[in-house]
């Protein structure tokens, strides 16, 4: 089916299979910040924003996307750059595979509640599995990001 998607402020026409999920559509379009991990809504690697709400693109059928605003990390470069510095300065980068999904969650949190408590930060990070760091460094990094950076 042919669909017009609104991704990072631009309209993009795509041809997709009926049961294609947004994750695979985005990757086929070159949005490689959106990663495929578990592909069963558990790991958070595929997190994007749909109408500014963090969403697991692995379970979001592409046919539902027209008419909605899709945002990937590629569309949030300024905030992503600051957050990346904060995470790196706190040693939260490690293997980096989970980082892009986690950044989508952290930036969404900042927009929703820039004064989020540590518990609220944890709440937003729970959906992004990381097997390197134990989350302590990410908590520090996101805390720093919410306070405006380095």
């Amino acid at each position: 089916m042919e669909l017009v998607l609104h991704i990072n402020g631009k309209n993009v026409t795509v041809n997709v299979a009926t049961d294609e999920m947004l994750l695979h559509t985005l990757r086929s379009l070159g949005y490689f910040s959106v990663r495929c991990g578990c592909d069963t809504t558990n790991c958070g690697l595929c997190t994007v924003w749909v109408d500014d709400e963090i969403t697991l693109s692995c379970a979001y059928p592409t046919f539902r996307a027209p008419g909605h605003k899709i945002t990937t990390l590629e569309g949030l470069q300024e905030e992503a750059s600051l957050l990346a510095d904060c995470l790196a300065s706190e040693g939260a980068d490690q293997c980096g595979f989970c980082t892009t999904g986690m950044m989508m969650s952290a930036i969404a949190l900042k927009r929703r509640n820039p004064n989020a408590s540590d518990d609220e930060i944890r709440e937003y990070l729970i959906g992004n599995l990381c097997r390197c760091t134990g989350y302590a460094s990410q908590l520090r990094g996101v805390r720093k990001f919410l306070k405006g950076g380095l």
Binding site: D39, T55, A59, I126
Partner: protein, 260 residues
């Protein structure tokens, strides 16, 4: 994976019901989070997103939750945070991560009648009703045994605050629970519901009767009865024996919470 060959996109509940009747094997696609866990390729799915059922509101002294409202919508609805100590919100807040709850719908969570549901024990305790297209309005307790192929339209919760408490026991945060429970105290009457045994939540009738009769004096007896009168089994999350022991402690904690 979620694989299907055709998507049916009804615009009204009537149309959805017609499609569901004609396509008996087609699953209804709400949030799609649980269907992802299957391995089947479906000939068709019925997409519920076009039915305009995404709402959470207060109406005629009831909270009304549309079937397509997400768990996140419920979690963020201020009046529900205050209702019965926020028990309905607590019932969704522990489910995986924020992004999952932004997708998983209340209709999908209830209609699936999963044994591991966090939200069904909470809805049982607040005496929620379910409205379906064909069957009309019924208590959620009746809905748990309702087997018709029907469209869940909305959940209605009477705004009648009474002491209720829920608990979900997990091996770790973000995991599926291995035991869930809820309790309601309405004057001297108690109702105890136990889920994830791993079967669907069920009323522990004998435990409830003992508590209604003896109050706090019946707490140990009720805990024991709750562990005996329902069927407990093992699965990948807990053994039968572990569940049987844990339910006793859980019932004691729940009773103390609503007795305060």
């Amino acid at each position: 994976m979620l694989a299907f060959l055709k998507v049916l996109q009804p615009k009204t509940v009537e149309e959805a019901f017609e499609m569901a009747t004609k396509n008996k094997t087609a699953p209804m696609l709400a949030g799609g989070c649980w269907l992802r866990l299957g391995r089947r390729t479906w000939p068709a799915v019925i997409d519920m997103a076009g039915l305009d059922l995404r709402y959470v509101r207060e109406e005629d002294n009831e909270f009304v939750i549309g079937a397509m409202a997400t768990q996140g919508d419920v979690e963020r609805f201020e009046p529900l945070k205050q209702f019965c100590g926020g028990v309905v919100v607590s019932g969704v807040k522990e489910i995986l991560g924020v992004q999952f709850r932004n997708m998983a719908t209340m209709g999908g969570s209830v209609a699936s009648k999963f044994g591991f549901s966090d939200i069904i024990p909470a809805l049982l305790a607040v005496h929620a009703d379910v409205v379906t297209f064909k069957g009309g309005r019924m208590s959620i307790q009746d809905y748990m045994n309702y087997r018709e192929r029907d469209i869940l339209v909305e959940i209605r919760i009477p705004n009648n605050p009474v002491p209720v408490a829920i608990e979900a026991l997990r091996i770790s945060r973000g995991d599926f629970p291995y035991l869930t429970g809820s309790i309601r105290r309405d004057g001297r009457q108690y109702e105890v519901y136990i889920g994830t045994r791993p079967g669907a939540p069920q009323l522990a009738t004998q435990a409830s009767s003992v508590l209604s009769e003896k109050g706090m004096d019946g707490i140990a007896e009720a805990a024991q009865l709750a562990s005996e009168e329902l069927v407990y089994q093992k699965n990948s999350h807990a053994s039968k024996e572990y569940r049987v022991e844990m339910v006793k402690s859980m019932v004691r904690r729940l009773v103390k919470e609503v007795a305060q």
